[in-house]
């Protein structure tokens, strides 16, 4: 689905987290919300997800104004957030309605995709961090949402698992072509996955830049073009300068 964020601000009891941010996400696009911590990336995503409705401004899904959660959105949080009392299979079917057999079949299909078919009967306590997050991805995908919202989904994982899951997400994107909005503070991750990178900056966070990347995916990490974009992002976030000063 297309997502239109128009002049969204969010205030929490006097402090402003996000100020007047607007951007547009085309259908099937992967958009990254990039910025240093505290610039309101997650706040924006929560507003789009409908988990937070206290913002000012307008958010349109498919051109329709929307405030509140939607079945068409799948959300993947920073932590897996699995129900510890449910098996992997039951966690995946958590958001599904309909006949049990059908639910089970859909869930098993997705567990196969994320490589956890043999773990369907395991409990979350028996999973590694990467496996738990893959379960959460399967749970988000099983309702076949047209849009995935990801809130720093890989930031709690080790470097290898992170790369693996990024590849997996790209594969899934190639298969189902969902629209994706992804909060991240990892520039490499944004460069590897995103068609568009929204850079937020400051406190309160304001929109600093809106970059479009046209390189086809999957991208090579050593691509000199990407290295230049990275340099540009670092400079625009004043990170290189801050490092020099320190």
């Amino acid at each position: 689905m297309s997502i239109q964020v128009e002049a969204v601000s969010r205030r929490f009891e006097g402090t402003t987290a996000v100020e007047n941010v607007s951007f547009y996400v085309e259908e099937g696009e992967i958009v990254g919300l990039l910025g240093t911590s505290g610039c309101g990336k997650s706040t924006l995503l929560r507003a789009v997800a409908g988990l937070d409705t206290g913002y000012e401004g307008t958010i349109r899904l498919h051109g329709q104004e929307k405030r509140g959660t939607s079945k068409e959105l799948g959300i993947i949080f920073q932590e897996p957030r699995l129900m510890p009392w449910l098996t992997v299979l039951d966690n995946v079917t958590f958001g599904l309605d309909g006949p049990k057999e059908e639910q089970k079949k859909k869930a098993l299909d997705l567990l196969e995709v994320v490589g956890l078919k043999d773990f369907a009967d395991h409990y979350p306590k028996q999973l590694s961090g990467g496996m738990a997050q893959r379960t959460a991805i399967a749970r988000a995908l099983v309702t076949q949402p047209s849009t995935l919202l990801l809130d720093e989904p890989f930031s709690a994982l080790d470097a290898f698992t992170k790369l693996q899951l990024q590849d997996m997400v790209l594969d899934l994107w190639n298969q189902y072509l969902p629209t994706m909005v992804m909060v991240t503070h990892d520039i490499d991750e944004a460069l590897a996955l995103c068609d568009r990178i929204i850079i937020l900056k400051g406190q309160p966070g304001v929109l600093h830049d809106n970059l479009k990347l046209t390189q086809p995916k999957p991208r090579r990490k050593s691509d000199p073009e990407l290295a230049r974009v990275k340099e540009y992002i670092l400079e625009s976030l004043d990170i290189t300068k801050a490092e020099k000063e320190a």
Binding site: A49, I75, R81, M83, P84, W85, F94, G95, K125
Partner: protein, 284 residues
């Protein structure tokens, strides 16, 4: 690699007999849980033996401290004339009813207070104030109100059970991970569905902890209730033993209380492990 492995196997077949013997002996010997149980029994058995010996050989007066065999004999005697079952039965009846009502009231009020801020402001201060009163102080009032029959005893036990269960229900529900609740909201679950599918299972560990400490207090209060006016029950045996200078009856009652208390707690513990098998800290 293959060579060293080959050597190893050959060596094992010739030399490692001692170790293999040890291992197979260990395997043939007692399972480890029996060994632990055996070790745990040493001290109580020793105490019992010393106690029995001390009374047999007249080191302590038998009419003050009867031998363990005399206590067992008393229980056996009561089992044969049938009075044992009457006393145990009425005590179990009281505790189960008290436990049931105390738990039911605590779960209902606790759940209400935990989900509704208004209910919390309305009820919680009062409950906390009543909690500050030592529950046994209610006994005279309950006897005045309900007489010395069953209702006053069951009410007292229910009151004892109520507080730990209430506190754990409130604490359990209020400490449910907001992040899990948010997952429910993200899937568009209704408030009722969120309670049933997330809050209830997530607060189950705390609830069961409350049940177990509630039951423990229930046993304390059943003793108190029966001490203060009963014609049947294990607590009555305590009074009877005191009035008839029969320490064996008192000790028999104590042993039976311990047995029943442990058994009921064991049942709850089994339920707890079964219901909470998904928990990280419960061994499966």
């Amino acid at each position: 690699m293959a060579v060293t492995q080959g050597q190893h196997v050959e060596k094992k077949s010739v030399f490692s007999s001692e170790r293999e013997q040890n291992q197979s002996e260990a395997r043939r010997g007692m399972p480890s849980f029996l060994k632990t149980a055996g070790l745990a029994l040493i001290v109580p058995l020793l105490i019992l033996a010393l106690w029995e010996g001390a009374t047999r050989f007249g080191l302590v007066a038998g009419n003050q401290l009867p031998a363990p065999s005399a206590v067992v004999g008393t229980i056996w005697g009561m089992a044969q004339d049938g009075s044992l079952w009457t006393h145990m039965g009425i005590t179990m009846y009281r505790i189960l009813w008290g436990f049931f009502w105390g738990t039911a009231a605590a779960a209902a009020l606790g759940a209400l207070v935990a989900v509704s801020k208004k209910a919390e402001v309305l009820f919680d201060p009062t409950v906390q104030a009543i909690r500050a009163i030592p529950s046994l102080a209610w006994v005279p009032l309950f006897i005045l109100w309900f007489g010395i029959g069953e209702p006053s005893k069951v009410t007292l036990i229910a009151l004892g059970v109520f507080f730990p269960v209430y506190l754990n229900v409130v604490g359990g529900i209020q400490s449910v991970d907001r992040k899990l609740v948010e997952v429910g909201r993200a899937y568009g679950l209704s408030q009722l569905q969120i309670i049933r599918r997330i809050i209830l299972p997530a607060s189950m560990p705390s609830f069961l902890t409350g049940l177990r400490s509630g039951l423990g207090l229930g046993w304390m209060f059943v003793v108190a209730a029966e001490l203060l006016g009963a014609s049947e029950g294990l607590g009555y045996l305590l009074v009877l033993g005191q009035n008839t200078s029969a320490p064996a009856v008192i000790l028999a009652s104590i042993v039976l209380f311990a047995f029943l208390g442990k058994t009921t707690d064991y049942v709850l513990k089994k339920i707890q492990t079964r219901v909470l098998h998904w928990q990280d800290n419960v061994k499966t």
